[in-house]
Amino acid sequence: MLLIPCPHCGLRNEDEFVYGVASTKKRPADPSAVSDAEWADFLYFHDNSKGRVRERWWHARGCQQWFMLDRDTLTHRIFGADAGESA
């Protein structure tokens, strides 16, 4: 059971949250102006590293805010959380 440090609510059990995506990319302002490769990259090609990643998480059963979590996918160590690029 991960204890996740929500930036607004503090440490809460993992089952209060919904995992989003391991991506810090922002949605292109005009999708029709970017190439197919860039659009596919934004939609589907995320960070699946075996190690430290930045992930978007949603505190579904709490403050209902999205935030960035800095976590290691092998050790599950959590380095921190912030509102960051999720805004």
Partner: protein, 418 residues
């Protein structure tokens, strides 16, 4: 290779079993091969086998960082089925069942394929409609999929509980008679033995640490046992495909999450078919040793730990005991996890990559059931340079083209819960 048979068994029994051959040779890696397959699981070993058998390409090495089938091939719940819904998915998965059916004979190795059938419980109106649609699609492709009444389901599953206050009442079922299970380790070993007999080098304890390129073309790999040159490299490292692909500068649209499974103590025969409880995201079968094998939906967040979180174990078990209360007192013997790679459209990715000479076989959530057909079609593209007809539309380039094959037949949970 001395073939296994009742005669070889008798002969060896009479000579104190001193005469059995090594099942594969385990040679030292050569400096160069025509083809290097990275990953010694079912998909990698199968690919090497079909390269030799279908295409006569035998100057091949399969490199496995650990022991054969030690990855997802050794961690799945052995389910083989073809109840999918897309035009390209049904023939692909159905052909896999056909290959499995005769694989023991083809590989001269008992993979213990048991076509015991699979019942999926219908526990919502939405899944009822989906089941009908799926059944109709499968009938078009000649695959058998029968809709069952609650009474018919209870006849097949005497231990099914249908209380009036069930959280997800069973309103019917669907049955695929040709679905089954096979001994997963045996599939890897059977392919390894035959591939080795045909000249393929099966090399364990050999971890690939880098993929060398000249321009946009692969020229070889670096491993813990030295450098190996090859102009054709196939990746089949389920769970670690992103890690290995990154060595060639390649990114993949996948997410590695744990998929848990557990087995009980052996119990008397009580469950004949495989049962999928869609409403709860749990599925069960009884192994030939009598253990109840249980699996469920994947864990909700990425992990490379091959364990899974207890929260999901609890969720799977609660679904299991609600459906089969008789199992409440059963002891669970062992729990583990694999690393399932989730794909955006839940359809395998097989074929070429943007890097010349580099191909990949990513099964996604249906890895064990697709071993024969995926390995065969992967071998085809390595040998001929063209995508196999059965795997048309499975290329990695489909995301950029917007041609996703949106499949929803995977997994055991039909309600997406938040």
């Amino acid at each position: 290779m001395k073939r296994y048979s009742i005669f070889s068994l008798i002969r060896n029994a009479l000579s104190f079993h001193d005469g059995w051959e090594r099942v594969w040779r385990s040679p030292d890696p050569r400096p160069e091969y025509d083809v290097v397959i990275i990953g010694g699981g079912g998909h990698g070993l199968g690919c090497a086998y079909y390269l030799a058998k279908d295409h006569g390409i035998t100057n091949v090495a399969v490199l496995e960082k650990g022991w054969l089938g030690g990855g997802n091939t050794g961690r799945n719940t052995m389910t083989i089925r073809s109840n999918y819904i897309r035009d390209v998915s049904v023939p692909f998965h159905d052909y896999s069942i056909e290959l499995y059916r005769q694989l023991s004979r083809e590989l001269n190795f008992n993979i213990m394929f048991s076509q015991r059938g699979m019942v999926t419980l219908i526990q919502s109106a939405a899944s009822s409609r989906d089941a009908m649609r799926r059944a109709n699609t499968m009938h078009i492709y000649g695959a058998d999929y029968r809709v069952l009444s609650v009474a018919a389901v209870k006849k097949m599953l005497p231990i099914l509980a249908t209380p009036a206050n069930a959280r997800f009442p069973v309103v019917g079922g669907v049955y695929q008679p040709r679905a089954g299970i096979a001994r997963h380790d045996a599939v890897a070993w059977g392919y390894a033995r035959m591939a080795d007999a045909m000249g393929v080098h099966v090399i364990q304890n050999c971890e690939v640490t880098g993929i060398d390129r000249v321009g946009n073309r692969v020229v070889g790999v670096r491993t813990t046992r030295g450098a190996i040159k090859a102009n054709k490299i196939g990746i089949a490292t389920a769970g670690h495909n992103s890690v290995v692909a990154a060595m060639a500068g390649l990114r993949l649209p996948i997410e590695t999450k744990p998929l848990q499974a557990f087995v009980s103590d052996p119990v008397k025969p009580i469950l004949e078919p495989i049962v999928v409880c869609g409403g709860y995201g749990a599925y069960l079968m009884q192994s030939d040793k009598g253990e109840i094998v249980v699996g469920g939906a994947e864990d909700p967040y990425p992990s490379y730990q091959q364990r899974g979180t207890y929260a999901i174990t609890e969720e799977i078990v609660s679904g299991m005991v609600e459906t089969f209360p008789i199992f409440k007192r059963m002891r669970l013997m062992r729990q583990w996890g694999g690393m399932v790679e989730l794909i955006p459209d839940s359809t395998p990715i097989i074929g070429k990559t943007p890097v010349e000479g580099l191909t990949i076989d990513i099964a996604g959530a249906g890895g064990f059931k697709t071993i024969p057909v995926a390995a065969k079609t992967h071998a085809h593209v390595i040998a001929t340079g063209h995508q196999h007809e059965l795997a048309r539309g499975y290329g990695l380039d489909r995301y950029e083209k917007g041609r996703l094959v949106l499949e929803t037949g995977v997994g055991s949970r039909d309600l997406r819960r938040v």
